[in-house]
């Protein structure tokens, strides 16, 4: 009887490169057959486990982050920091547009305030709000943001030739955390409270 396979030979066997003479040993050895079967089964299972695929935008963003880092000699913030603040970009755009609209076509009297956009928020948009895990009073902040958004006039969208804004309620409910909602709330308050000339 030839000696049993070494660990390295078991790997060669699994990869199909073990010399025939040693393969013959496995055929006649119960222990080696069992070990080889276990090894093959485990290898098959491990091989089948993929890494979860990141969101599609991630790859291009990664290139940009690497490029920024090498352009700035590694001074760019890491991915996590960038991700934490990325919400500010669209938020700032929306807030700027709202401020422009409010300044240009602000209400002349409380009774003349136009109602902007749909007032109903889809159930699926509001559901996650109640279940916000951070324990912050996100419901109240969202309600206030929706009220303030509704108080903004909508005439400016057409008179200024601006493209219609996305439904703020849906965007806020679906994407913003409590502290982000509070930031939006402050911006909207500024827009609504600003005196018209």
């Amino acid at each position: 009887m030839t000696p049993c396979l070494t660990p390295a030979e078991f790997v060669d066997l699994a990869e199909g490169v073990l010399p025939a003479a040693r393969v013959a040993h496995v055929a006649g050895c119960v222990d080696c057959r069992g070990t080889a079967a276990d090894l093959a089964a485990t290898m098959a299972e491990v091989t089948a486990v993929d890494v979860p695929e990141p969101a599609p935008f991630f790859w291009a963003a990664l290139n940009r982050r690497v490029r920024a880092a090498i352009d700035d000699d590694g001074a760019a913030p890491p991915w996590r920091t960038w991700r934490r603040w990325r919400w500010m970009a669209p938020l700032a755009g929306v807030a700027t547009a709202l401020v422009v609209v409010a300044v240009t076509t602000g209400p002349t009297a409380p009774g003349e305030i136009a109602v902007a956009g749909p007032t109903a928020v889809p159930a699926e948009a509001t559901a996650p709000v109640a279940a916000a895990p951070d324990g912050v009073d996100r419901d109240d902040a969202l309600a206030l943001v929706l009220d303030l958004a509704d108080a903004l006039p909508e005439a400016g969208e057409t008179t200024l030739g601006l493209a219609p804004l996305p439904d703020l309620g849906e965007v806020a409910a679906a994407t913003l955390a409590a502290d982000e909602l509070r930031a939006l709330e402050d911006l909207l308050r500024t827009a609504v409270d600003r005196p018209t000339s």
Binding site: A8, D38, M43, P52, P54, L62, N63, V66, R67, A69
Partner: protein
């Protein structure tokens, strides 16, 4: 790096790694960007198998490529770029893991569950089993883990793995064997 500058110029996206590495080492950020695009998924997946967290894997992937850019002038061209970048990725991942310690993989149903599967219960069980396998792999001793990951998921030769890990071909094979044996013990047979 900055002093190498970011040179503009036509870069053939189909050029082989050696050509791109030479151009990048001479200062072409465009050539390096092609290398990043070509290898980013493999590097991300390698890092993810160590840290099992997207944000950490993304940070490590970025760090790997930035370190590679800085070290390009010292890259010995007889080695494959793939082997070299994997070596950097393994090192930055090991540094991260050793500094932080093991963590549980977040169970993100949106990411892990295939919603197109006809039987959601089976999909969830598969996702849980996959997470358990990744956790078991990440808990292996460093050399076993590196040998298994690089051989199983990245199809590197035993010699290339030996170069990365700094050991012999025989030791790499033994590490793969013991890694699989440890996983078998830890996971048991698939139910």
């Amino acid at each position: 790096m900055a002093e190498r500058g970011v040179t503009a110029g036509a870069v053939d996206p189909a050029a082989d790694d050696a050509v791109l590495v030479a151009a990048a080492a001479a200062g072409s950020a465009e050539a390096f960007d092609v290398l990043v695009t070509r290898h980013r998924r493999a590097v991300y997946q390698l890092c993810y198998r160590y840290v099992r967290h997207h944000d950490d894997a993304a940070d490590l992937t970025q760090d790997t490529f930035v370190r590679a850019w800085r070290a390009l002038p010292t890259f010995r061209r007889e080695a494959r770029f793939t082997t070299w970048i994997y070596r950097i990725a393994v090192n930055v991942s090991l540094n991260k893991v050793s500094a932080r310690g093991p963590v549980a993989e977040p169970i993100d149903a949106e990411t892990l569950v295939d919603h197109t599967a006809p039987r959601p219960g089976d999909a969830l069980a598969d996702a849980e089993r996959a997470a358990a396998v990744r956790a078991a792999v990440a808990a292996l001793p460093p050399r076993q883990r590196a040998a298994l990951i690089l051989r199983t998921y990245h199809d590197l030769s035993h010699q290339e793995i030996a170069d990365i890990v700094g050991t012999s071909v025989g030791a790499v094979k033994a590490n793969v064997f013991h890694a699989l044996a440890n996983l078998r013990k830890r996971l048991g047979a698939r139910p």
